[in-house]
Symmetry: C2
Subunit: 117 residues, 2 copies
DNA sequence: TCCATATGTCGAGAATACCCGAAATGTGGA
DNA sequence: TCCACATTTCGGGTATTCTCGACATATGGA
């Protein structure tokens, strides 16, 4: 991921409505959610939400698909992964020891796959 | 990390000069860099850089310490870790399988500690 | 004390982001 | 075809951010 795209993604997430939208969509993976439901869930006018969704989409953080009358939005977690890797990359490059605690803190996420004995 | 602080950090990094500043400081851990050197390295007027550094500091991403005449800035990697954890948390909560590839992609960072056999 | 260096603060202009009412587009059914 | 619904686009007003010249503050040495 290049810096320009990283900034796009960071700016997209640096706004409360959009951040909540993205988190809401992550929780609704892989089904997604129609634009109207998102606007209703976050109590935001539908046209305002449309603008926010467009910004998230241009940043590659969400994708949309028309399902008859609805337009269903989904979170693109791989984009979040790319962003995370971009941010962490610098520590890894020259300072692997700096990066270790960060990666370590992330590992508990996998504990729900195989529960601790 | 609460959402308010996450947004502060995201907004701080969503600007090219500040993002480059942070990455520069990460590469200069743990020595840090004086404000003037940072401004010179990125070809930005010192007062403009001062404003950007203040925004990064309020987001907790950098810290400053006076060393006689210089004010040396350092990147706070733990804050980046908290931000990363905040972003990843949602996947982990309900969707551990979504999170697994993200964590997996991060693990190669540790390869420089113990080289693959 | 006075000066040079390093950094921060103030103020204002330009650019950009945010929000939402109103109108337009696209879809499926009567 | 016409209508109801879902979503986007347009227009604007307001708020915020970005930038930088000018000035202010802090430190150490002559």
């Amino acid at each position: 991921m290049e810096q320009v795209n990283a900034i796009l993604a960071l700016a997209a997430l640096a706004q409360s409505t959009r951040l909540e939208t993205f988190r809401l969509l992550v929780r609704h993976e892989p089904d997604g959610l129609p634009a109207g439901d998102i606007a209703r869930a976050l109590a935001v006018p539908h046209n305002t939400m449309s603008t926010h969704l467009n910004i998230l989409a241009r940043a590659g953080l969400v994708s949309s698909e028309r399902r008859s009358r609805l337009i269903v939005y989904r979170a693109d977690v791989s984009r979040l992964r790319d962003l995370t890797l971009f941010l962490v990359q610098d520590c890894c490059g020259g300072n692997a020891d700096l990066c270790a605690p960060l990666v370590e803190a992330l590992n508990p996420c996998r504990s729900s796959e195989k529960v601790a004995p």
